[in-house]
């Protein structure tokens, strides 16, 4: 599925300063029954966001109108647990294009990159600065610059670099995906498969 190209994103951010946000919280299993990829944003953080009677929980950040934006900032070990790509779909479908944390679970990170969400890993100290900046002013803007691999708190000018491999960076900046790449390799793959003992 094609996704929007990612180059420089300037946006306010939604803070979620909780550690170990697992993918069961991002999208509970009972919402994984679709056979198509649509509408997952409605159930993003469903059980943190809504009461059992479907009324919004007023103290959850997504229900607080002072916070908005295309960047989600989460605590350490974001996206742990189930491999469900639906978690990344829900985040994308809700309108986020970037998640910032000090530490991501491996599968979530891979899934995000595959569908056009940029996971940005920053130091714990810088993550804390971001949380504090948003706390001080919910309208504070962040700039996530993929070509320069740098995230900046615009109000203070403080910034930090982040890592991403060259292949994935190129893909995100151009909206390419791995499936296209692999389709072009099929002759090479078939030759490899010939030698397989299994």
């Amino acid at each position: 599925m094609a996704y929007d190209k990612f180059t420089v994103l300037q946006s306010t951010a939604v803070p979620l300063p909780i550690e170990n946000v697992d993918t069961d919280q991002i999208i509970p299993a009972r919402f994984l029954k679709a056979t198509e990829r649509k509408g997952f944003g409605d159930n993003l953080f469903r059980d943190w966001r809504y009461n059992n009677d479907d009324t919004p929980k007023q103290d959850f950040v997504l229900n607080n109108p002072i916070y908005s934006g295309k960047i989600l900032v989460g605590g350490k070990n974001f996206g742990s647990g189930s491999s469900r790509e639906h978690a990344a779909w829900a985040i994308y479908d809700y309108g986020f294009r970037c998640v910032i944390s000090s530490f991501f679970a491996d599968i979530f990170k891979g899934n995000s990159l595959n569908i056009g969400i940029l996971p940005v890993t920053v130091s714990e100290a810088f993550l804390d600065k971001i949380f504090k900046a948003i706390e001080a002013d919910p309208k504070t803007e962040l700039e996530v610059n993929l070509p320069e691999q740098k995230v900046t708190i615009l109000a203070t000018g403080e910034s930090e670099g982040f890592d991403i491999n060259g292949y994935k960076k190129h893909n995100l900046m151009n909206g390419f995906d791995d499936i296209d790449y692999l389709q072009d390799m099929k002759t090479e793959i078939a030759a490899f498969a010939e030698k397989s003992i299994y």
Partner: protein, 473 residues
């Protein structure tokens, strides 16, 4: 020949790299691909939309498990969305020539139970599935890990995925396990020591006497839980235990092919002096039966211990307090004696025959506690048949328990098997996340022995008090 000492992980990984991308991931060839009804429909849709086919359908195996009912499987599935997913799996398998054990098939069951029990899983393979507990198959010395749906589409269409090579960790556990300590306790103990993110970024090899002495089913339980420490996967070098398990199973190599495969499998071990990025070791004698008290699998401890104070855990204080508040537990209180409402025996972690034998050994001659609702769910129809053949069903029935039909069931509560809000469940599954077993449900993870002890006493009980000396494993 290279004299450079390498790890088991390197040997298997390097043998599957089709192309190395500079400043990028490796293109990794996948030997076996399992699919189920929840994470595959969108991948098939992607293939249709792109107009590309399935490259090697004979390398993919389908089973229905996540979303299947565990009673009355002969009736049509009542929930229309679940029924639609199951129908999509069957029609996609048929359309592309993929073999399938659909609901109702005698070979149907949880993907990580049916793969090994039918000999599909073999040493030295790369194995993936759109399910994080694919790490289970690492018990055979294969590289096995969970993938997302985009990657399911990649494997279907090209038999490859693109992965950066993870770092390597070795976890060694030597010594002898004490009475009443099962492989699940070893797994929960390790995760409690290193936290739920302690192995993130790594692929783990388990080594040492404790794993060498484990059965294949025990090794599967340990490797299954690798993901709960954040590891991409876990593996154990294949040995005679592994080869004896595989030999004669339906999809295992036969005759000359077996001899050839065996000769190769025997080379699959970490060389002396091979380097790991991280090495940890524990003493098996330090491990007592474990239980979790929080909302991630790293928040567990010995069953006789108290719930730690916030200052004693590695999670941040706010997250820890949120976790205890959800469980309605307090710092520094005993876990033993806590009243429990539900017991769940099953899942890809502990839904195999040895788990049912362990459970039955404790409940034999006793009665289910009145306050307990027990869901006993075999991992497959083959396990279910064994339970009946071995007389375990009679023991369970006599003690007041019923057996349900195979599936993932209350482990992730996608079907109707949901623990009600606020209720406590002692579960042999793998995750105690908020709402994992149903909205508002409170989960304590433990071994089949602990689950059995709770099932007959109604409260958290040290199973060692109920194990006869001669019955101890």
């Amino acid at each position: 020949m290279s004299t450079n000492p390498t790890t088991l992980f390197d040997k298997v990984w390097d043998a599957h790299v089709v192309r190395k991308i500079e400043d990028g991931p490796d293109v990794l060839f996948i030997d076996r691909h399992f699919i189920h009804e929840v994470t595959s429909p969108v991948a098939f849709l992607g293939i249709e939309n792109r107009g590309i086919g399935v490259m090697y359908p004979q390398r993919t195996f389908a089973t229905a498990d996540h979303n299947t009912p565990t009673i009355n499987q002969h009736l049509p599935v009542a929930d229309p969305l679940s029924a639609k997913q199951l129908a999509a799996l069957s029609s996609n398998a048929e359309k592309y020539g993929i073999s399938i054990w659909a609901l109702g098939s005698p070979k149907n069951g949880i993907v990580h139970v049916v793969g090994p029990e039918n000999g599909i899983t073999q040493p030295g393979m790369t194995i993936v599935c759109g399910d994080s507990h694919t790490s289970t198959h690492g018990a055979f010395g294969s590289i096995a890990f969970g993938i997302g749906t985009s990657e399911v589409e990649m494997v279907l269409s090209s038999q490859c995925i693109m992965q950066p090579k993870p770092k390597k960790m070795r976890i060694t556990v030597n010594g002898k396990l004490g009475k009443g300590v099962l492989p699940k306790d070893v797994a929960l103990y390790i995760i409690a020591q290193i936290t739920a993110s302690g192995a993130t970024g790594y692929f783990v090899e388990y080594a040492g006497e404790v794993f060498e002495n484990m059965t294949m089913e025990g090794r599967m339980t340990v490797c299954n839980m690798s993901i709960e420490s954040g590891a991409r996967g876990g593996m154990i070098a294949p040995d005679e235990t592994t080869f004896n398990y595989i030999k004669g199973r339906e999809k295992a190599p036969k005759g000359e092919d077996w001899d050839k495969a065996l000769a190769y499998w025997k080379t699959l071990k970490t060389d002396a002096d091979a380097q790991f990025d991280s090495e940890l070791s524990f003493n098996g004698a330090d491990i007592e039966p474990q239980i979790t008290y929080g909302t991630n699998p790293g928040l567990g401890t010995g069953i006789t211990r108290k719930i730690p104070k916030a200052s004693e855990v590695k999670d941040g204080e706010a997250s820890y307090k949120k976790s205890l508040a959800y469980m309605d537990f307090r710092e520094d209180e005993n876990i033993i004696g806590k009243k429990i409402d539900y017991v769940f025996l099953g899942s890809c972690t502990n839904g195999r025959i040895e788990d049912f034998r362990a459970f039955a050994s404790i409940v034999k001659g006793k009665k289910k506690a009145d306050n307990i609702t027990a869901w006993l769910v075999p991992g497959s129809h083959i396990v279910e048949a064994q339970i009946k053949e071995e007389g375990i069903l009679d023991i369970l029935t006599e003690a007041g328990f019923e057996l349900r039909q195979p599936g993932c069931s209350a482990c992730l509560a996608m079907n109707d098997d949901k623990i009600p809000a606020g209720k406590y469940a002692v579960s042999t599954s793998n995750r105690n996340f908020e709402g994992r077993q149903g909205p508002g449900a409170r989960t304590l993870l433990a071994s089949p022995y602990v689950a059995a002890a709770v099932a007959v006493t109604g409260v958290v009980t040290d199973p060692r008090e109920l194990i006869e000396e001669e019955a101890a494993v």
